[in-house]
């Protein structure tokens, strides 16, 4: 059974904005019944150019229905410009997260939104000109590139989770890997070592863990710790107060600080003391 959040379940059981707007300003249909999920989305603007109403119809699993329901709720009141900035991650976050294997449902929502906006702007939708990479699910190179870029994907499995590409016969796996390698090198990250966290996120989590879990305990003994830098998975720290002169501080760093950080942030982290 999928581990859906209560919010996903709630939006699935009581979906908002089901239906179709007759005289819509924006219209889009994405996905197909063969692929297992499809979404028809329409929106209507008010006189100030804000989205007054949004409606959807979905063929798909619970998370597809919940994602569409969430997306329509999120964009109400937004200008077209604001709505065009909504990402699939925003939709997933609104629902309190989606299982990895279901992230493609949030991508479907974002795609529908984007196409409806393109339709509204009167720009042509040139889907047929795009190169199809995954024949089974009709996923284009552009869509894959975008998912990699926006969600920092680094493996074929992740690309499948987010776009469905590669989820059928598997013949396109080498092609997807090539796209990953290309995009990842473009965005300046090594393709082989997969950082589960972006650097910014990692440093933030380390800081938070130090603040919440580690500092209070050290302070209790009259000590303190300061984060100097994070280099790859090396966490460089300086000890303060009682810790700075304590013989056992090295033990504390390894057995307490490092253990906590590994547990709560990333198992590969190594804590090193530096004088600063």
């Amino acid at each position: 059974m999928w581990d859906y959040t209560d919010k996903v379940k709630e939006h699935f059981l009581n979906p908002r904005n089901v239906g179709e707007i007759e005289d819509a300003d924006g219209v889009a249909e994405v996905g197909s019944i063969a692929c297992g999920d499809a979404l028809k989305f329409t929106f209507k603007l008010d006189e100030n150019g804000r989205i007054k109403d949004a409606k959807f119809k979905t063929f798909g699993c619970a998370s597809a229905i919940a994602s569409a329901s969430a997306m329509t709720e999120m964009i109400k009141g937004m200008t077209v410009e604001e709505a065009s900035k909504v990402t699939n991650q925003d939709i997933a976050n609104y629902l309190g997260g989606l299982p990895q294997e279901k992230m493609h449902c949030s991508v479907l929502g974002r795609e529908a939104l984007e196409r409806a906006i393109t339709y509204y702007k009167g720009a042509p939708i040139k889907a047929e000109e795009e190169k199809i990479v995954c024949e089974c699910f009709g996923v284009t190179e552009k869509e894959i590139e975008r998912a990699i870029r926006e969600n920092r994907l680094t493996s074929v499995e992740e690309v499948t989770n987010y776009t469905k590409a590669g989820g059928g016969c598997g013949n396109c796996h080498p092609l997807i890997q090539e796209i990953i390698d290309r995009v990842v090198s473009q965005i300046g990250e090594t393709p082989f070592e997969r950082p589960k966290l972006s650097n910014i996120r990692k440093i933030k989590m380390i800081e938070e863990t130090l603040e919440r879990e580690i500092r209070p305990a050290l302070k209790h003994d009259g000590g303190d710790i300061e984060l100097v830098d994070v280099v790859g998975n090396r966490v460089l720290v300086a000890t303060r107060g009682a810790c700075a002169s304590c013989q056992a501080s090295n033990q504390t760093l390894k057995n307490f600080v490092e253990v906590k950080l590994r547990e709560l942030v990333l198992p590969e982290l190594v804590v090193e003391e530096v004088s600063a």
Binding site: W2, K9, F12, L13, P15, V18, E29, I33, A34, C35, G36, D37, A38, L39, K40, K57, T58, F59, G60, C61, A62, A64, I65, E101, C136, F137, T160, K164, G167, G168
Partner: protein
């Protein structure tokens, strides 16, 4: 909320009689059946009794029964034993609709130098025996075909298929996990060499299985260890589970008629009523040669996961062959092998009943399910145009 459990092809409840029979063997009569002392010896007697009971259900003799840990182990033991007993033969014949325990094993063996023929099925899930005959070659080490399909309940002509393998001196194995206890089986009258069964599909606990091995069949153990099971499967006997399975086998035999009258009646009523109330609905698979407890119904233009989760709100337990529930992105391999169209495959729901289901439970499902389908179809972008197309057709 007491569940309305209609997912008995996934697993079944342990029968109260089975549980009761098992309990003493955890804490009072915990002796090892291999021990010399009478404390262990008395357990051996019960294991023997269980073996007799399982043999009776299958129409086999007790020494042909090997207790294992599950159906998958039995499948692995059977197929691997055939290959190592006939090292010169490099060909396996199986079908496209097998359980993963056989299918994934054969796919694995295909990467280890074996040639695997996966026989197709027709739109009703039936095997073509002529095609099967052509697939058998002097190089074939083993045929492994399921007796009844877990998703559709379709029964293969296993006795006939085994006979055709015997004529060519090819070992024949059947995964009978879904059919044992539901349809009468008398192995003595067949040419089946090996058969797998699983305890938890017939009201015994999880973690116990059986490999039937016809007397005189070459065998090479899968689990090498002690002398247990006449050296054919190492490991101390799971005595409570074996004893439980013995009782379950006896119960299954007693209830075989009930299964094929009452349970079948419930299934038919559920199926016929749903089909008549809900439009654009179809049964997957051959309705004639089918297990009495199983029905796979496809609801066009809706997705199975949604149906399951909405039924879950009422405590109704079933399963689906849809992509969203399979963990992969494609609908079940069984429905795909049958060529069920996508509009139907994604919306397939399997109900599998047991002797513990009641008329009231079926009434409850018949009441709750149609509005669920209506709700989901109301949300589906395909529904209106699909229905339109059907009317025009």
């Amino acid at each position: 909320m007491k569940p309305v459990y209609l997912d008995n092809n996934a697993t079944t409840q342990v029968a109260p009689e089975v549980l009761e029979a098992m309990l003493p063997y955890f804490h009072e009569l915990y002796g090892n059946p291999s021990s010399m002392h009478s404390f262990g010896g008395q357990v051996m007697k019960q294991v023997r009794k269980a073996r007799d009971r399982v043999a009776a259900l299958l129409g086999a003799s007790p020494e042909e029964i090997i207790f294992t840990s599950c159906g998958s182990e039995s499948d692995n033991a059977a197929i691997r034993s055939a290959l190592s007993s006939y090292p010169d033969k490099k060909h396996i014949v199986t079908s496209r609709v097998e359980h993963p325990a056989v299918r994934a094993l054969c796919a694995h063996l295909a990467t280890r130098g074996y040639r695997v023929t996966e026989l197709p099925v027709d739109s009703e899930g039936r095997l073509d025996l002529e095609q099967y005959r052509k697939a058998l070659t002097p190089d074939t080490a083993i045929v492994s075909l399921m007796w009844a399909n877990n998703e559709t309940g379709v029964i293969f002509p296993i006795e006939k298929a085994a006979e055709m393998a015997r004529e060519r001196d090819i070992l024949f194995h059947t995964d009978a996990v879904q059919s044992v206890g539901k349809i009468p089986i008398n192995l003595a009258d067949t040419c089946i060499d090996m058969l797998s069964l699983s305890g938890h599909k017939l009201h015994a606990p999880k973690g116990i299985g059986v490999l039937y091995l016809r007397k005189g069949t070459k065998f090479s153990p899968f689990l090498i260890g002690g002398h247990q099971e006449r050296g054919r499967r190492g490991g101390t006997e799971a005595t409570p589970s074996i004893i439980g399975l013995g009782v379950a086998a006896e119960l299954a035999q007693k209830k075989m008629d009930f299964e094929n009258t009452f349970v079948k009646g419930l299934r038919d009523r559920l199926e016929n009523t749903i089909l008549s109330i809900v439009s654009n609905t179809k049964v997957n698979g051959d309705r004639v040669n089918r297990l009495p407890n199983t029905t796979s119904i496809s609801f066009e233009f809706v997705e199975g996961e949604g149906i399951l989760l909405m039924m879950d709100e009422y405590g109704i337990c079933a399963s689906s062959g849809s992509a969203c529930t399979s963990g992969s992105l494609q609908p079940s391999h069984v429905l795909r092998a049958m060529g069920v169209p996508f509009t139907m495959a994604h919306g397939s729901i399997r109900f599998s009943l047991s002797v513990y289901n009641t008329d009231e439970e079926i009434d409850f499902v018949i009441e709750k399910l149609p509005p669920i389908i209506e709700t989901l179809r109301g949300m589906s972008p395909y529904w209106k145009m699909g229905a339109q197309a059907c009317r025009e057709a």
